[in-house]
């Protein structure tokens, strides 16, 4: 093979800075800075409308006097099964959670499967069984769907897309721009278990651990908050990009600073240990069964009590607050220093030593 020389590099008197990537790279899907830029520069300009502009987990539409929440999500997790879950249950929980983050009570789901030629039918059925079980457990039917097959090598075994609709009861207004300085920031439990569980079985990275994915439907927690009369400003499920990315999105949409206490952020011991070993920050690992709630300070105690009253929210804690200031996320360290929490540039990468 001949070594290709880049004519642009030869023409340039100096070594060029790496050009803007013109192809899709994995960082575009990592939920951090590159993902946001891909959407802002290449996709949203062509679809511009007020629902997308809200940058919420789903859209809330007025129809026939009712308010409908509508959302969709695609699942490309590999391997298809991981400790504590599988792609099927994850696809159900993920979409139900996006509806719940809009304050909606789910009505129905759709499910589309993209199957790769050669995948054992038994694996397809296992995924379908998991989808059915998770949907039944949540009391939400899968009412429509689609199946496509792609040639061997053109898909990673199996991809799942789910979409969901739900009804938003009157009086629930959850939007990032409703978050105000003075709001408390709560999380419903330890973060990063899903991300760590999937990493622990990923090809080439496998390590022994007892960590299990936290994948679960958090809709009951949302109902518990509203039942307790909490005037919730906004909810997020810290999936791709983790708690860190969720806080950045909200800080940016609310135009305010979010300060979190490093020592208050709940991280399970094994997840912390895995992150220490792998050089990853648990703040940016995905959770699939947690929520972040922004509530007025005066309602923080009631909100925590409501969350803790449910098994999924037993370990709910307050991690920080929203402050006047420029949109950014600040960490107060255990030693009392304040430092910025920037979004990672791309995929979380293992370090060298």
């Amino acid at each position: 093979m001949t070594r290709k020389l880049d004519p642009a590099a030869l023409a340039s008197p100096s070594c060029p800075a790496p050009a803007t990537p013109e192809r899709v790279i994995l960082s575009h899907g990592a939920g951090a800075g590159a993902s946001a830029r891909l959407l802002a520069e290449r996709i949203f300009p062509h679809l511009d409308n007020p629902w997308l502009a809200a940058r919420h987990d789903g859209a809330v539409l007025e129809a026939g006097g009712a308010r409908l929440a509508f959302t969709t999500d695609t699942f490309v997790v590999h391997p298809l099964e991981f400790p504590g879950g599988d792609i099927g249950s994850l696809a159900v929980h993920g979409t139900l959670n996006d509806l719940a983050m809009c304050g909606a009570r789910p009505i129905a789901l759709s499910c589309a499967l993209v199957l790769e030629e050669g995948l054992p039918l038994e694996a397809v059925e296992r995924v379908a069984r998991a989808i059915g079980a998770a949907a039944r457990a949540a009391g939400v039917p899968v009412v429509t769907g689609d199946t496509k097959v792609v040639e061997r090598g053109k898909g990673d075994g199996l991809f799942v897309n789910t979409a969901g609709i739900g009804l938003v009861p009157a009086g629930r207004e959850l939007r990032p721009d409703r978050v105000r300085p003075g709001d408390a920031v709560l999380v419903s439990g330890p973060i990063g278990c899903h991300g760590a569980a999937v990493l622990s079985v990923r090809e080439g990275l496998a390590f022994e651990t007892e960590i299990e994915s936290d994948s679960a439907c958090v809709a009951p927690l949302v109902e518990a908050l509203f039942d307790a009369g909490v005037a919730v400003s906004c909810l997020r499920d810290p999936t791709r990009g983790g708690l860190g990315a969720a806080l950045h999105e909200i800080a940016s949409a609310a135009g305010a600073e979010i300060e979190i206490e490093e020592a208050a952020v709940p991280v399970a011991g094994p997840v912390r240990a895995a992150c220490e070993l792998l050089g990853l920050d648990p703040l940016f690992l995905a959770s699939e069964g947690r929520l972040v709630a922004f509530v007025p300070e005066a309602h923080a105690a009631a909100a925590l009590a409501a969350l803790r009253g449910h098994a999924l929210g037993r370990d709910a804690v307050r991690v920080g607050r929203v402050r006047e200031g420029r949109p950014r996320v600040v960490v107060r360290t255990a030693l009392g220093a304040r430092r910025l929490l920037p979004l990672p540039a791309g995929e979380p990468l293992p370090r060298i030593c």
Binding site: M1, T20, P21, P327, A337, A345, I352
Partner: protein
């Protein structure tokens, strides 16, 4: 978590800072050698806590940062070969060579894999017998035994399709170069604890004696760094220049003899160009003649090229020698960010520029600023 929590305990750290500050009669310049220490310092705000007594200079201990451009270009050219699967640690994939990075090569169709361990690359070679699997081996003495061990496994399994592109570097010659430079500003070194865990501290004795510089093998948690600095300050105040070990829970003067033997069996000391610093005599490790069959440099000689020129705007060399603090660089945070880096220190998880960007700047506008 044991061995972590007690070294992050705020009261213990603040007490140690207080003791150190009261002992210092002037502001000493101490270089932490390892990028892992640099990140700990900035993440926990230790530089500010110590500022009255110590100016911390950030050293060259980022293996990704000192890997020369020609090695990166070579890895890129290897990855672009249709018969090659290139494996490396994740950090390496985003470092810009002169023609882009390995992630970009992967997006264009190259087979590039992230592994956590060199043994994973050996397993890859076993699983893909029709591919030539090359492991881009980067790192200080810490990672070398694992690579040597993986080579032993590959040889025992008669894997003819596995090879290593070795860009390993050694710490002691770099300390010597930094301390003997005409513009040297360093009063004492905090040596990299994990390198010393493997290699011990004996190699540092002649450097401390000859160049009259205290060297303290130091760990990576906040209390480790403060204790290491305190030992260095105590020596400086007494006019001493010795090798000391702060990181006693991991480091012995003789290091890890089994790991050292393994390194000696597979690797030999060579002169090596360090990116941003130049040729460091005895600064690297290369595969011995006996391991030529596994040496990508020998197996793919056609890829050896001229060293491409460095981007003139990138002052990584000055940063790596402790001569320039990252925020003082004109390109910092503007022309050079983690997403569009000019040089490796802005990319690597151990790079000093990345540490400042992560913990001190990185606001939406990208402008450099402190944080109150």
């Amino acid at each position: 978590m044991r061995f972590v929590d007690e070294y992050r305990e705020p009261d213990a750290v603040l007490r140690a800072v207080d003791v150190l500050t009261r002992r210092a009669t002037r502001r000493w310049r101490i270089m932490e050698v390892c990028g892992g220490q640099t990140h700990a310092i900035l993440a926990h705000g230790l530089d500010a806590l110590l500022a009255d007594a110590v100016e911390l200079l950030h050293g060259p201990g980022c293996p990704v940062c000192v890997t020369p451009l020609e090695t990166l270009d070579r890895a890129l050219a290897l990855a672009e070969r249709p018969d090659v699967t290139l494996a490396s640690f994740g950090d390496m994939l985003r470092v810009p060579g002169s023609r882009g990075d390995l992630f970009g090569a992967r997006a264009r169709g190259a087979d590039v894999r992230v592994v956590y361990s060199p043994l994973d690359a050996v397993a890859l070679a076993e699983r893909l017998p029709e591919r030539r699997v090359v492991f881009l081996a980067v790192g200080f003495e810490t990672t070398v035994p694992a690579v040597a061990g993986a080579l032993r496994v590959a040889r025992a399994r008669h894997l003819a399709n596995f090879s290593v592109l070795a860009a390993h570097v050694r710490v002691p010659p770099a300390l010597e170069a930094i301390r003997s430079a005409p513009d040297a500003r360093v009063d004492a070194f905090l040596a990299a604890g994990h390198v010393c865990t493997v290699m011990g501290t004996e190699e540092y004795e002649p450097i401390a004696r000859r160049l009259r510089v205290p060297i303290v093998a130091t760990g990576f948690e906040p209390l480790d760094v403060v204790q290491g600095a305190a030992l260095a300050v105590a020596q400086l105040e007494r006019g001493e220049a010795r090798v000391e070990i702060q990181y006693r829970r991991a480091v012995r003067p003789e290091g890890n003899p089994a790991a050292r033997a393994l390194v000696r069996e597979v690797f030999e000391v060579v002169d090596r160009p360090w990116r941003g610093i130049g040729i460091v005599p005895s600064g690297g490790l290369a595969l011995r003649e006996a391991w030529a069959a596994f040496d990508a440099e020998r197996l793919f000689p056609e890829l050896a090229g001229e060293a491409p020129p460095e981007p003139p705007e990138c002052r990584a060399g000055d940063v790596l020698r402790g001569a320039l603090r990252p925020p003082e660089c004109p390109a910092f945070g503007t022309r050079c960010t983690p997403e569009r880096p000019l040089g490796a220190p802005m990319v690597s998880s151990e790079g000093a520029c990345a540490a400042y960007f992560r913990y001190r700047v990185a606001d939406a506008a990208g402008a450099a600023e402190g944080i109150a």
